[in-house]
């Protein structure tokens, strides 16, 4: 497999993971676009330097590190985040097969709330939660990617789930 084929194969396989992770870590699409693009460039530049079988861990580590760099840089800048995720709402609204408009609206609202609650999780818990819960990564893969002990990964996941529940309760009380 030549470099072009390798690159295309890796992009095809991991582009959604890269983007989804960046989106939840950076909390907005514009920043996620920037980081995802930077990750793709890094993949091309380092094609020969990593094992194809361990590519997923390498790519996710690069994505994670770039997200952290981005968050550090952005810390003192004005946040570009927008809280109403219109595109996601449109997606759900188009894809949820519920005839009752009231229930449909409730599902859309709930999904939006869950997304916001995930984004509100602390950075270290959010990374583990998104990797495990949304991207289906195993504990070992996450441990390798984030360079954390397996026990810490499990504890962080549990904390994230508790925090998320608290966050959603908070939304409900606000309503």
């Amino acid at each position: 497999m030549n470099n072009t084929a390798k690159y295309k194969f890796l992009i095809q396989q991991h582009k959604t993971m890269i983007y989804n992770y960046s989106f939840y870590m950076l909390k907005n699409k514009m920043d996620a676009d920037d980081v995802a693009q930077e990750v793709l460039i890094r993949i091309w530049q380092n094609l020969g330097k990593f094992n194809m079988l361990a590519a997923k861990a390498w790519i996710m580590r690069v994505t994670h590190n770039l997200c952290l760099d981005y968050l550090r840089k952005k810390k003192n800048e004005l946040s570009r985040s927008y809280f109403i995720d219109e595109e996601a709402e449109e997606f759900i609204s188009d894809n949820v097969e519920i005839n009752n408009p009231a229930i449909k609206t409730h599902v859309v609202m709930l999904t939006s709330k869950v997304k916001e609650a995930i984004k509100e999780l602390p950075e270290n818990l959010r990374s583990v939660f998104v990797m495990y819960q949304m991207q289906g990564m195993k504990y070992k893969e996450i441990s390798k990617t984030l360079d954390l002990p397996l026990g810490t990964v499990k504890v962080n996941l549990l904390r994230a789930r508790k925090k998320l529940q608290e966050g959603l309760r908070h939304y409900e009380t606000q309503e």
Partner: protein, 186 residues
């Protein structure tokens, strides 16, 4: 199995409830949570609450990477003529990018191989015509006749030649010789 403190919601129990709600608890933990939820409404409510969140999280669609991002990155590195993916590459990457799909494909190939072997064997057995069966029967009979002839010949040789000429005759001659010697001595 009775849980300590009558199924009280301590930190340990809460962890079990969360794991059970997110479907990654062990069988034992699930059983404990199930029993506890039957006994205590508080635990049942907590389990339902976490389950509902887990369902919502699992239903969240992944954020798809916009094509402009992959395109603009590809445009930087990949020569124009190699940018458009071929049909074979699409098939290849579709299968390899989804482990479930490759597992299903592998299983289907194995099932196809096994069924074709089994059906071939069955068809093979049922494709004999009556003529062929009769011919095979005749051939078996002919083979058995040859074997029978060979046994008869062996039997004749054994009884007529070997037993009489080569065994009984020398024994008789030996006895005769011994008798002659004994008579001479007397």
């Amino acid at each position: 199995m009775k849980h300590k403190n009558n199924y009280i919601v301590d930190a340990e129990m809460l962890n079990k409830i969360i794991s059970a709600a997110y479907d990654d608890a062990s069988l034992k933990e699930r059983y404990i949570v199930y029993k506890a939820s039957k006994k205590r409404a508080e635990i049942k409510a907590l389990l339902e609450e976490y389950r509902s969140t887990a369902r919502s999280v699992n239903a969240l669609p992944l954020e798809e990477c916009p094509n402009e991002i992959t395109d603009s990155a590809s445009n930087k590195f990949i020569p124009k003529e190699k940018r458009n993916a071929s049909f074979l590459f699409d098939v290849y990457s579709t299968f390899f990018s989804r482990p479930l799909l490759s597992a299903v494909a592998a299983t289907m190939i194995i099932i196809a191989m096994l069924t074709s072997i089994l059906f071939y064997e069955r068809n093979h057995q049922t494709t004999y015509s009556m003529e062929e069966i009769e011919r095979a029967n005749d051939q078996v009979k002919y083979a058995l006749t040859i074997v029978k002839d060979a046994f008869n010949k062996s039997n004749n040789i054994l009884t007529e030649d070997i037993l009489t000429n080569k065994i009984a005759k020398p024994i008789g001659e030996g006895i005769k010789y011994v008798n002659t010697l004994l008579m001479e001595e007397n």
